[in-house]
Amino acid sequence: MNLIDLIGVWVGVFITLMVLSFLYKENPFFRLTEYVFIGLAAGYAFAASLRLFIDQALNPIFVNGNLTFIVPVILGSLFYAQFTKKYSSLYRLPLSLAIGYGLGVTIWSVFATFFVKQVIATMIPLFTGDVLTTFDNVVLVAGTILSLSYFILHREQKGVWGGFTKIGKYFILATLGAVFGSTVLGRMAIIIQRVQFLVGDPAFPWSALGMGTATEGAYAPIGVVAFLAVFGYYLYRERNKRSSAETAAKAAKT
């Protein structure tokens, strides 16, 4: 058994329960995890970005000797002009390069992937030999056209046209219902894995998540008990503080 991994499991349990304590009420434990999370995530992102800058911008200059890369590095450094008062508008220059490139690439890529291929995929035979396939194809084609019609807003949605857009609305609602149903799966999957971790379930992928092995994981419930004791003590002290404050307020009134 690895002692560092065991301590890591207990720290992980404490952190998990500190976040989950928000469900009971807002408290300093939860707030602490919020700030720790932002700090760690930002620190990691900084290191990642710095490495990329070195690989993509500095290595071509200093390792490969390609001095033309000095120009984009200087232009990119203008992003930091936003922190100055006098030259803050200079950051718009590198931003414009990024925007121009992004717009140009978007025009051909979005058109092909999200428009052409989707329209082609909708061009399917409506009437086939099989009743069920015919029904499916009609649902797909009619549903696509009618949902699209719902977003045509320059024309008032009434009369026969309103009838079509109403059916389109129902298709969109069915879509949103399917998304909601699917979202339930996603959210439950996350909390189930968290509970697997807290109870020390051997089925939890301990090593695949860098949490040691199931041997250390089996001691996770000890961390749960320890946290509940600490949190319980915190709630007890809060209640005492509140009741003594209420008593003092009553005494002040009288």
């Binding site: 990691y44 290191a47 890369f69 930091y80 390069l97 717009l103 140009g104 999200f114 069915a174 909390i191």
Partner: protein
């Protein structure tokens, strides 16, 4: 409407020329090949490499902003200043250990940083990342499971035809994706698969095509600085 038209300054015009030139070039390079004269693809690839270098130069902006805000909190002793201290410590500790020992380490082959320092830092980085960061992030997300359960109870009422359709589709999908229900009667799974494959696909496709057209129109308008409000 004409009052919404903004006059472009020289600087704005210059930036718009840059946006248009680069955007137009990348829009046409996909469609146009000019054999024998200029290898547009090679020019495009080289420009891409330069753009990559330019974009990565903004690596420190997030850290600078966070540091400014929280150091300010600490200086002025605001209500959450103690938490700001913890944030700054975590930020720089993680940054330093990540630069030494993460997959983004600056010197993974120990050419400059001594191997002993890397060996010392690696378990610390792994502890911070796997045992703290991953746990916090996934647990924060897991709170949504409780909120969705609470919302399902409080808010999902079949008050109208529209809400009934939404509810029915949602409930059928939920039932179909619970394996135990699917085993009791495979029809639920088949219904869920059908809803996802047909009505959901139709609705999503309509939304996708509409969004693609909107993005296309916006991109072309932005390239030409089409006056807003006209």
């Amino acid at each position: 409407m004409s009052s919404d038209k903004k006059k472009m300054s020289r600087g704005d015009l210059g930036l718009q020329v840059i946006i248009f030139s680069l955007g137009f070039f990348y829009a046409i390079v996909y469609y146009v090949a000019v054999p024998g004269t200029v290898d547009l693809q090679a020019v495009s690839d080289q420009l891409l490499a330069y753009l990559t270098a330019l974009l990565t130069a903004a690596f420190a902006i997030g850290v600078i902003n966070l540091t400014r805000v929280h150091v300010n909190n600490i200086k002025r002793k605001r209500a959450t200043w103690r938490y700001s201290v913890i944030l700054i410590i975590c930020l720089y500790a993680m940054a330093i250990f990540s630069m030494i020992a993460s997959p983004f380490a600056l010197d993974p082959q120990a050419a400059v940083i001594p191997a002993s320092v890397i060996a010392f830092s690696t378990p610390i980085w792994e502890f911070l990342y796997y045992k703290i960061l991953v746990n916090i992030n996934s647990t924060i997300f897991s709170l949504l499971a409780f909120f969705i359960a609470s919302a399902a109870y409080r808010a999902f009422k079949a008050r109208s035809l529209e809400s009934t359709i939404l509810l029915a589709a949602g409930l059928l999908v939920i039932l179909g994706q619970a394996p135990i229900v699917d085993l009791v009667w495979p029809g639920f799974g088949a219904i869920r698969d059908w809803i996802l494959a047909f009505p959901n696909t139709a609705g999503q496709r309509g939304i996708l095509i509409g969004a693609a057209l909107a993005i296309l129109v916006f991109s072309v308008r932005r390239l030409f600085r089409y006056p807003w409000g006209e």
